[in-house]
């Protein structure tokens, strides 16, 4: 037993990546000279040694069964000498040295339902989170909404007909696991009802001072309810961040009548041209309407097409809006500007328009 314990390794870390690199990558590591996108989802990298590496990028959907992974492995064995990689947006990439393998591979991927694309001026996969599949906090589903939106936008994944890259992200609650706060279009699950307190159990599962302290707006105060030491919430001070729930299970916010989705626009991450930007609120609330979330898919498509039609070449969503101004954006998008759009958090004053630079 002591022996067994001794043998039990910990902290050995991930396998070294080198053993997973295709030989052409190892040989040309750090020697790549330029690349070219050959067609949607296919690019070639040319090395200083003149070696050529072809990449085929395919949508994975991210939630994968081991069956699908094994199918991928079969394809990688057949066309890529047994190597495969995934991208930072959860697409799968097949790295080929033989140009003639590209089309057969694409056909095989199509056959198992995995389109090729997401490269260049296109919409790549939606970075997203767990939703009702796995998380306790979710105000909406993740995989379902993503599926509906991408079904609807698939042409923009498969083709390269946009002014620039468009990155969509989804998070199922304000914790925003992902890059929702910096995406061209972001879909964010929101609660709209203050926590319902499980007074009977609160004291057993949470420390009251911690719960009170967790609220950024100081809406939570210790209170005695039905003889139980518990807390109360000043509802008009609650903005539904769910931080109290993260800290204390007896404060759930999930609520079918009031949960739903908000849409944000104009964020970006790259430093290309404009500095990185946060996403800004476009549509405060759309209902959860499973299984196909039609309100959400329509709203997102409208935004994509509005931008596609009006932006200059290379202009990301946020760069375009910055050029034309937010009032024009709201007008063109047919979105009513409401109180909800006006920031009222800590730095709100800095979002007011402090110049006469206006269009009419």
């Amino acid at each position: 037993m002591a022996d067994a314990m001794q043998k039990r390794r910990t902290d050995y870390g991930p396998p070294h990546y080198e053993q997973f690199l295709p030989p052409i990558v190892k040989e040309n590591y750090g020697k790549w000279k330029y690349h070219e996108i050959l067609k949607p989802g296919v690019m070639v990298h040319v090395s200083e040694t003149d070696a050529k590496l072809y990449t085929v990028r395919s949508a994975s959907g991210r939630l994968l069964s081991i069956d699908k992974i094994r199918m991928y492995c079969d394809l990688a064995d057949k066309y890529c000498d047994g190597y495969i990689r995934f991208t930072s947006r959860h697409n799968v990439e097949f790295l080929l040295t033989k140009e003639e393998n590209i089309d057969p591979l694409i056909n095989s991927l199509d056959a198992i339902g995995h389109p090729v694309g997401g490269m260049g001026n296109s919409i790549s996969a939606i970075v997203h989170t767990q939703g009702w599949v796995h998380c306790h906090s979710a105000a909406t589903d993740a995989s379902g909404v993503v599926k509906c939106v991408m079904d609807d936008l698939i042409e923009y994944f498969k083709e390269m007909k946009l002014p620039g890259k468009l990155r969509i992200a989804l998070a199922c609650c304000l914790n925003m696991c992902g890059a929702v706060h910096c995406s061209d279009i972001a879909i964010l699950g929101v609660h709209r009802r203050p926590p319902r307190i499980d007074h009977a159990n609160l004291r057993k599962v949470c420390e009251i001072p911690n719960v009170s302290a967790s609220c950024p707006t100081a809406a939570i105060r210790p209170a005695t309810v039905d003889g139980n030491p518990s807390v109360e919430v000043l509802e008009e001070q609650c903005m539904f961040c769910a931080n109290c729930y993260t800290v204390c299970p007896a404060m759930p916010l999930n609520d079918p009548l009031n949960d739903g989705v908000s849409i944000w626009v104009g964020g970006k991450v790259s430093n290309a041209r404009h500095e990185p930007m946060f996403s800004k609120l476009a549509i405060p609330f759309l209902p959860n309407n499973p299984p196909r979330w039609p309100e959400v898919t329509t709203a997102v498509r409208n935004l994509v097409e509005l931008w596609a039609k009006n932006a200059h070449k290379y202009e990301r969503m946020g760069e375009w809006i910055e050029r034309i101004g937010w009032p024009k954006f709201f007008k063109m998008a047919g979105i009513e500007f409401q109180k909800e759009h006006i920031d009222d958090f800590k730095h709100a004053g800095l979002t007011y328009k402090r110049s006469t630079h206006l269009t009419f």
């Binding site: 304000l174 009802r193 609120l281 709201f330 759009h341 958090f345 007011y352 206006l358």
Partner: protein, 403 residues
């Protein structure tokens, strides 16, 4: 004739140089009034000691007025008895700071009789500043000012003396009559100007166009800045003339256009007015060729102020475009609604801009019964912390007021 003029070796250094010398001015005044001599003495002492010698404030005034006089007492009254009192009177300037020499001379005569003979033309709010007199001279001074129709300006927690750029009187770009509006508001709000009843001061400043020659966006609780809604008026011949005379239209004009809405093919200047942000730059550079549009009015902005306490603010857009015509009821109605809410709920020493920021622009709009519009913000919120005020309850499925 005063004979108390002291030796001031430090201050004398400031009689040298090309810029007008305030020391010379004080010395001139000192020949008429002993206040000047003691002021020189105390100031020389300040220059030696690197510290001012005035006591903190002091409430003095003129009968029937709650503001307009800044009380000031020397902290060395034995040494400088002639400035033991040295109060300032703020006199409401005529709009645009135009005078006849006749009017100016009368002011001088009054100040020769009752005060130090020193002035600021003008204070940075815009008043005529009569610098230095004794408490017992305040009322007689006001008496004489009445006779020449000059009234007192604001101070304390009241409306401050409104001021404006010269506008239509001498500027081709004025999009509304700044002087007329300034006069009208000043007259309409005489009570608010003279009797402090606000949580804190409130300032109006009117500029005729976005060049903002009275710095209204930086120092007025309400900034009224001229603009236009239609197209910039272009005289293409005159544009070509500028080009011929050596103006680099591409580099000097077009690449500086924040709307990125201009094109120049060497012959025609094309402006996509839909994206023009009315910055004035192209007009400023080619005043003979370009003019603001014909559908003119003003943008109303709110809330600018100096840094104490929340940090400095610039004014922010409240009404993107308003026609500015007498009797100016639309502005007055807006002002009244703002003052009502701020007057009721503003904290002591809280400027209206700070108040709006504290309660939230959206809530403030609710309170004064205005609709939010996108022009009010540089961009919508970046954080997801929305205060929804209502939610559905299980039993009814209808939207409920919060409990």
């Amino acid at each position: 004739m005063a004979d108390n003029i002291p030796k001031t070796p430090k201050l004398d250094e400031l009689e040298k140089g090309g810029w007008p010398s305030f020391v010379k001015e004080i010395k001139m005044a000192a020949k008429r009034s002993p206040m000047g001599g003691d002021l020189l003495g105390q100031l020389e002492q300040s220059y030696n000691e690197k510290i001012g010698h005035w006591k903190h404030g002091g409430i003095v005034g003129v009968m029937g007025y709650g503001g307009g006089v800044i009380g000031r007492y020397s902290d060395l009254p034995e040494k400088y008895p002639n400035i033991s009192h040295f109060h300032t009177m703020r006199i409401n300037q005529p709009a645009g700071w135009y005078y006849t020499t006749d009017a100016l001379r009368k002011i001088c005569d009054i100040w020769e009789k009752h005060g130090s003979g020193l002035t600021n033309m003008h204070g940075s709010t815009g008043d005529i500043i009569l610098l230095g007199t004794r408490t017992e001279e305040l009322e007689p001074t006001f008496d004489d000012l009445q006779k020449i129709d000059f009234d007192i300006g604001g101070s304390g927690s009241d409306l401050r003396t409104p001021s404006c750029c010269c506008g239509m009187s001498r500027c081709e770009w004025a999009c509304y009559d700044t002087m007329a509006l300034t006069y009208d508001l000043t007259m309409h709000y005489q009570d608010e100007l003279h009797r402090p009843a606000f949580p804190y001061k409130f300032k109006f400043k009117m500029s005729g166009c976005p060049n903002d020659c009275v710095a209204s966006i930086a120092r007025a609780d309400m900034s009224i800045i001229g603009t236009w809604r239609d197209q910039i008026q272009v005289d293409q011949d005159a544009v070509r003339e500028y080009a011929e005379r050596g103006l680099d239209i591409q580099n000097d004009v077009i690449s500086n256009c924040p709307g990125k809405c201009m094109e120049w093919d060497g012959k025609e200047l094309n402006i996509e007015n839909e994206f023009c942000v009315r910055c004035m730059h192209c007009i400023n550079v080619m005043p003979k060729a370009l003019r603001p549009g014909k559908d003119r009015g003003a943008t109303i902005l709110i809330g600018s102020k100096a840094p104490i306490i929340e940090g400095a603010f610039l004014s922010s857009v409240f009404i993107p475009f308003m026609k500015i015509t007498p009797p100016y009821d639309e502005i007055k109605d807006l002002v009244d609604r703002i003052w009502d809410v701020w007057g009721e709920e503003g904290k002591n020493r809280e400027r209206v801009g700070e108040f709006i920021q504290r309660v939230g622009l959206g809530n403030f709009l609710d309170a004064i019964e205005m609709e939010p519009i996108a022009e009010m913000v540089a961009h919508p919120r970046e954080n997801p912390y929305v205060f929804y005020e209502e939610y559905y309850e299980e039993d009814d499925g209808e939207e409920e007021e919060e409990s």
